[in-house]
């Protein structure tokens, strides 16, 4: 379960597996300048300063150029983190528009972190749990 951290303000948002950065931030009660939410308008670009991600759909070359595929540019509406990522917004700060949703997200993140910690404690030699192990997120979804 990836965590998105906002640089430099430090907000942390828990994403469900497969969720885009944009969808996760909005679901957690945060807002920033976005447009079509479908990869076409290029407004929701940020810089991914740490961590890696993949695009869950083809992205047009006039939306993300070859140079932007090689630098830290991240089209948040299509970007699905491969692990924890840190992003920096371009020319604006993240707005908390719904504290209630942010609280729900923080609790989900704490549960996921506690679960991961308990797994690590149970088998100290084991590598971190594989991405396919999605039990806490499934439970969250069903709630």
């Amino acid at each position: 379960m990836p965590t998105v951290t906002i640089d430099p303000t430090g907000e942390r948002v828990h994403l469900d597996p497969g969720e885009t950065i944009l969808a996760g931030l909005y679901k957690a009660g945060y807002a920033f300048t976005v447009g079509c939410r479908r990869g076409g308008c290029a407004i929701c670009k940020v810089d991914a300063v740490a961590g890696t991600f993949t695009y869950n759909r083809p992205v047009a070359d006039n939306v993300i150029t070859d140079e932007e595929r090689a630098d830290h540019t991240c089209l948040t509406c299509r970007a699905v983190p491969e692990g924890d990522v840190t992003i920096r917004l371009r020319g604006e700060t993240l707005r908390l528009v719904n504290p209630f949703l942010a609280q729900l997200n923080a609790r989900a993140r704490q549960r996921a972190e506690a679960y991961a910690a308990s797994r690590a404690a149970a088998s100290p030699d084991a590598t971190p749990p594989p991405a396919a192990d999605t039990t806490p997120a499934e439970r969250t979804t069903k709630e």
């Binding site: 300048t33 976005v34 447009g35 079509c36 939410r37 479908r38 990869g39 076409g40 308008c41 407004i43 759909r57 083809p58 992205v59 047009a60 070359d61 006039n62 939306v63």
Partner: protein, 309 residues
């Protein structure tokens, strides 16, 4: 000279499977042809072969087709476009499937226009002999027809002049900085050749990033109830809504702006009062532009002027 209507909008989509689901299952267009990586659609109340063309690869506008009343109209428009400084190419029947001979030129705003007179007649889905009011088994929103589009241009006044000179369009409404046209800077204009309140609107875009840009293309609906029902269907199909249902102060139309799965903005649009060449032009001043565009909220969202493909 008579442009009858925007005959087709041809756009790029990044993922054809998702685009087909949107245009066929959510909007309810009828697929009429798949050929060379392009898919062709018509609405149920349209009779020509197609009004929407999807092409896989990228996002944004490829071109618009404009259908004229008589074949001689093509020659008139060719002369007008050349006089207006455009480079005009002849296009042959079949270059666009099921579309006849015509011309092609680029506008000063960088949009590709095709003008034609003949298209293969398929017929509406209710026919012409004692027709029913609508097809019984419409899919999704069941849009009857393509309606209009809004494009960006750096020079709105210049585009209004071009469309007047080439297509004999006239403006029905405008956003301008001064009520005196001579002193005004034109921010946006709504234009038509007939009684439809707008066939093409032009909005000022940012210098250097407006050429050939599409703000939206719109489908016709009957009334508020149909617009509301479309919104319900967009919720069911997870279509991102830009704004609405709301009303435009400009044209008085009822609307939802939404995005297709590639990020092209679409609209469903109902109402709009009848336009006449002798009806006094409606002018909006910049301080009221938000009410002009979104009549109920009276605030422009951050996307209206910054998000386009």
């Amino acid at each position: 000279m008579a442009v009858m209507r925007m005959g087709y909008a041809h756009v790029r989509v990044t993922d054809m499977a998702e685009a087909k689901s949107h245009y066929a299952n959510t909007l309810g267009l009828y697929e009429t042809l798949t050929q060379d990586g392009k898919v062709y659609y018509k609405g149920w109340d349209e009779w020509d072969h197609h009004s929407v063309v999807l092409e896989e690869g990228g996002v944004g506008l490829v071109k618009f087709g404009w259908k004229v009343e008589k074949s001689e109209d093509i020659d008139d428009i060719e002369r007008n476009a050349q006089a207006a400084g455009a480079t005009v190419q002849r296009m042959s029947k079949g270059e666009n499937p099921e579309i006849g001979d015509g011309i092609r030129f680029e506008t000063p705003s960088g949009h590709l226009f095709e003008v034609y007179h003949e298209a293969t007649l398929i017929g509406t889905e209710v026919g012409t002999h004692n027709p029913e009011a609508f097809p019984r088994h419409l899919v999704g929103v069941g849009v009857p027809a393509l309606d209009h589009a809004l494009i960006l241009a750096e020079d709105v006044r210049g585009m209004e002049r071009f469309l007047t000179q080439v297509f004999d369009f006239y403006p029905t409404e405008r956003v301008q900085t001064d009520l005196d046209d001579n002193d005004a800077h034109f921010i946006a204009t709504w234009m038509t050749a007939n009684n439809q309140i707008h066939q093409l609107a032009v909005l000022e875009g940012p210098p250097g990033d407006s050429q050939g840009k599409l703000h939206h293309f719109a489908f016709k609906l009957g009334d508020w109830t149909e617009v509301g029902r479309a919104g319900d269907l967009f919720a069911m199909d997870d279509v991102p809504i830009d704004i609405g249902p709301t009303r435009h102060g400009i044209t008085r139309g009822q609307t939802i702006y939404f995005f297709d799965p590639s990020g092209n903005r679409n609209e469903v649009y109902a109402g709009g009062y009848p336009a006449y060449r002798d009806r006094p032009l409606v002018k909006w001043t910049p301080d009221q532009i938000a009410k002009g565009i979104f009549y109920h909220a009276r605030e422009l969202n951050e996307r209206f002027t910054t998000v386009y493909t």
